[in-house]
């Protein structure tokens, strides 16, 4: 039942608004609203009960295993949340003067330093609000760099066919054309194909390493050399940074610009789809173009760096300083991990993924890249099940929900048929991994003995499979008083 359907004319959560209605007669009638907005009229308890119940209709990390590949759904420490929500932080106005911001700015400065160190980049700007905005910032810096050198014939960004959809979309938003690079049968970028297309029109290449097929790009140095020699720059999509944290640094691999998804690697909550945070880091030559604001330290106090101090910046991407509260959570997490904890993230997420892969292979599931070492995630292809049993990846995914586990990422990357991209993360214990594998084995048995059982799943959730076609054809995007 919608909150609107619980509405009763005249009911209110009285304590939550000013008790007296102030006089606004100085605002002329022509500017005033004629009819109140049709928001629900409900009591405070109704609201609390309704949204508490809605929350219970979700899977989440706090309640279920959530091995969603490429999303790094690891435990979000409650401590990070509690400390980021201290009144001093929540109450700080974004335009408060530096004299009233030193505590907050100290955290931001420290976080910039930590991110520089773990990525091997020369400077970091925290401001992009999410991974996709970080990508936009990164490509915009590449463009600014070429433009500043009057190297304006470069109109192409190279993107592997396995890349996240945001990569080509971000390149287009910066005015570039996108050229796809194929992935070889071993999961690495096809370097020979790259060699053929890289040239004077190449502005840069966007890579994820480990790639979205869950393997480490072994020829990365060769790729970097190839692109750099052609005058292009290398962009690192930090979606999979969890896999290499403290083990390999993008800066050392030759990348010129990277974005990090702090909601993945630094464990800030995904919040049902945001807010994220997508800081960018750059090599020496891109420092002038970093988005503002950033924080600097002049020896005894923290100061903002804005358009004034950074005249070549690509500018600001949000009205203020990005998702500050998310950045605080990431900072707190980073401090709790500390120096030694960074590499453990990569080590144990990789251990978990390789353990799962091995056990799943032993159980008869087909790895997409059986000759490769898994990184923090790996791909299983269910093409045989789809062909022989007519039970496809989506069926397995939906059935997993009945077993009390969120499905892995399905049908991505697009180049592996019937794929499940599985990312357990380092925060899961062995019992949970085993339970997932047991569930997959049980579903396989069901698929063989009673495929309809799997194809009809899920059964135990608030709804069964939804009609997406109807949702798109007969658009119903809001409740209205007349139609309901």
């Amino acid at each position: 039942m919608l909150i609107f359907e619980q509405s009763k004319a005249g009911r209110r959560a009285v304590a939550q608004a000013p008790l007296d209605k102030a006089d606004v007669s100085d605002i002329p009638e022509q500017f005033r609203r004629k009819k109140p907005a049709a928001l629900p009229e409900v009591s405070e308890m109704q609201v609390v009960r309704h949204y508490t119940r809605l929350s219970q209709r979700n899977f989440s990390i706090d309640t279920e295993f959530y091995p969603l590949g490429s999303c790094t759904m690891k435990y979000n420490p409650r401590g990070s949340n509690a400390l980021a929500m201290l009144p001093g932080f929540l109450g700080r106005h974004p335009s408060a003067p530096e004299s009233h911001s030193q505590g907050f700015m100290a955290c931001m400065y420290d976080l910039q330093q930590i991110l520089k160190e773990v990525t091997g980049m020369q400077q970091v700007s925290l401001t992009p609000a999410a991974g996709a905005q970080g990508e936009f910032a990164g490509v915009a810096m590449i463009k600014a760099y070429h433009d500043a050198r009057n190297d304006t014939a470069r109109n192409e960004i190279l993107v592997p066919d396995a890349a996240h959809g945001t990569n080509p979309a971000s390149a287009v938003m910066c005015g570039y054309q996108v050229r796809e690079i194929p992935t070889g049968p071993d999961g690495d970028v096809d370097v020979e194909a790259l060699r053929k297309v890289v040239g004077p029109q190449t502005a840069g290449i966007m890579l994820t390493n480990p790639s979205t097929v869950g393997v480490f790009e072994r020829r990365i140095e060769e790729i970097a050399k190839l692109v750099h020699e052609a005058g292009g720059l290398l962009y690192y999509d930090g979606a999979n940074l969890n896999a290499i944290l403290g083990k390999v640094r993008p800066g050392d691999m030759g990348f010129d610009v990277i974005h990090m998804n702090l909601h993945k690697t630094f464990s800030t909550p995904h919040g049902g789809g945001g807010p994220g945070a997508g800081p960018v880091g750059v090599s020496e030559r891109l420092i002038p173009y970093l988005p503002v604001p950033m924080v600097d330290h002049d020896g005894d106090k923290y100061i903002w760096l804005t358009e004034e101090e950074c005249p070549d910046t690509i500018g600001r991407l949000s009205a203020f300083a990005g998702n500050a509260g998310v950045l605080l959570r990431a900072y707190i997490y980073a401090r709790m991990l500390g120096k030694g904890g960074m590499s453990r993230v990569a080590e144990y997420s990789t251990l978990n993924a390789n353990y799962m892969l091995k056990r799943m292979q032993e159980a008869g599931f087909e790895a997409a890249y059986p000759d490769r070492r898994a990184t923090h995630e790996f791909i299983i292809t269910l093409r045989k099940q789809a062909k022989e049993l007519d039970v496809n990846t989506m069926d397995f995914a939906k059935r997993l929900l009945d077993y009390g586990m969120h499905a892995p990422t399905t049908y991505f990357p697009l180049l592996v048929p019937e794929c499940l991209l599985i990312e357990p993360t380092e925060t899961e214990d062995k019992e949970t991994l085993d339970a997932f594998i047991d569930a997959m084995i049980a579903i396989q048995a069901e698929a063989e003995s009673d495929p309809e059982q799997v194809k009809g799943a899920p059964y135990s959730l608030p709804v069964r499979r939804l009609d997406d076609v109807k949702a798109a054809r007969e658009l119903d995007l809001k409740w209205t008083p007349d139609t309901h």
């Binding site: 939550q16 999303c71 408060a96 909550p269 991407l317 998310v326 969120h406 809001k478």
Partner: protein
């Protein structure tokens, strides 16, 4: 090991299953010369207690000043229930609702959010949010360029009365796509968009006119005239509004003859704390005709196999994970948790509650203006009516005054001279419903004292008639 549950015995067991002798062996595909050394610039680990002590100290350092700054972020009361529910793990630690059956809570909530936003703005459709108000305006501009078939120009009219940071962000985001932003000056007497300058563009090919209400100065624009003018000149009308103000002010869907085409703005006043500028959320609404040009997530109502009502992401063919380089935007996540809070906030306050908040804020600002105007040389600059934020002229350098006020723990407003050299003695002040009579009196007393100590300065601006 913080947040890693493995025991020694389990690690051995797992390595044995994999068939390797050490965890390090799992990185054997990484070239040796790329392996990194110890991260010396990362400090040693802290326990939760230790980091609590550090964060407590830093949070306290920033103090709880008495805040009279608005300028795009407003300090409203947030009911305790809002964040108590929004931070439930089931909302907080879930992800984008790709598996709809396991995400009905988030999906239904987003559908309710879309319903509330369309009700507030009087528009047909809302998406499930964007990053913030400024980036939402950038997306609105891109959407207008895609959606206005009558215009080929990719030129947008953008008033100078729009939030300066929004103007910068729009330029930064759209400039590489060949879109030109043309600035409209403001009327120095009224503080509204200069209608004569606007008329000078009549008949020219523009894609859209941006209309802020209230504008950055708190001034109410003649939105009916502006909207009708845009439509008469084959432009789309893009409204930039404060959602709390909409409980009191005419909604964009009802501006002029036909209403605005696209509505966007900063969602922060609906339940998001000031929090140093984020996370907030941008909202974006439009007419039915433009729905397929909309960026970001959209939730639709549908039915399941048994005919039971359910909710799902819809129109995904617009989005980057399907259309890649041909998507309407590169946006992937939205600001889900902020929208969760906003939905609960709007449900708690309702239309009546939001109207009371808007009225109380406006009334407080009026009170503050009365108190400040008693000080010799302090005056309201613009003649148009305003909503809950107002530009005053100070008889002393604004920067110095603000610094002195801050020393008394009063954040006295936003210094307009930074962005408007023509208003270099002007201060933008705001008093939400949270500012008490006592705080306002304190502000006025401190200001009077500071001004009397610093002495008057001749003012270049023509005072209000």
């Amino acid at each position: 090991m913080p947040f890693i549950p493995h025991t020694e015995a389990e690690i051995r067991d797992m390595l044995e299953t994999i068939g390797v002798t050490s965890i390090d062996e799992l990185f054997d595909e990484v070239p040796d010369n790329l392996r990194c050394q110890a991260l010396n610039d990362v400090p040693e680990a802290m326990s939760e207690l230790e980091i609590s002590q550090l964060m407590d100290r830093r949070a306290r350092e920033d103090g709880q000043a008495s805040c009279f700054i608005g300028a795009g972020a407003y300090d409203h009361h947030i009911p305790a229930a809002v964040w108590a529910i929004a931070t439930r793990g089931e909302f907080y630690s879930a992800y984008t609702p790709y598996q709809a059956e396991a995400s009905q809570g988030t999906l239904q909530l987003l559908y309710e959010y879309q319903s509330m936003m369309t009700a507030l703005t009087a528009m047909d459709v809302s998406n499930a949010s964007l990053y913030d108000g400024a980036s939402a305006l950038a997306e609105a501009v891109l959407m207008a360029v895609r959606g206005n078939r009558k215009s080929k120009s990719k030129r947008i009219l953008m008033p100078r009365t729009l939030h300066p940071a929004y103007r910068q962000v729009v330029v930064n985001i759209v400039k590489n796509q060949g879109i030109e932003l043309v600035e409209l000056p403001f009327d120095q007497a009224t503080g509204g968009t200069d209608m004569a300058a606007l008329e000078g563009h009549a008949g020219e090919d523009f894609t859209a006119l941006v209309i802020p209400q209230p504008n950055f100065f708190g001034v109410l624009e003649d939105v009916d005239a502006l909207t009708d003018w845009a439509h008469a000149n084959k432009m789309l009308a893009i409204a930039v509004v404060n959602p709390v103000a909409l409980a009191l002010l005419n909604p964009p869907g009802e501006w002029g003859e036909k209403g605005a085409d696209i509505v966007c703005g900063e969602g922060q006043p609906l339940g998001a704390p000031l929090s140093s500028g984020g996370p907030y959320f941008g909202f974006l609404c439009c007419t039915q005709a433009l729905v397929r040009q909309m960026p970001g997530r959209i939730i639709g109502k549908t039915v399941d196999l048994d005919g039971k009502v359910g909710f799902a992401l819809t129109l995904q063919a617009r989005e980057q994970h399907i259309r890649r380089s041909k998507a309407t935007s590169n946006i992937c996540t939205n600001q889900g948790l902020m929208v969760t809070a906003a939905t609960i906030h709007m449900a708690l306050l309702g239309s009546e509650g939001l109207e009371r908040v808007a009225a109380a804020s406006h009334s407080n600002t009026k009170k503050l203006v009365q108190m400040l105007q008693r000080i010799n040389g302090v005056e309201v600059i613009f003649s148009n009516p305003y909503f809950h934020e107002v530009v005053i002229r100070l008889p002393a350098p604004v920067k110095d005054v603000l610094r002195s006020l801050a020393a008394h723990n009063v954040l006295g407003g936003f210094d307009l001279g930074q962005d408007y050299p023509e208003l270099d003695e002007a201060l933008l002040v705001c008093a939400t419903e949270k500012r008490t009579e006592q705080e306002m009196e304190n502000f006025a007393q401190k200001l009077e004292r500071i001004i009397s100590l610093q002495g008057g300065v001749t003012c270049k601006l023509v005072p209000k008639e």
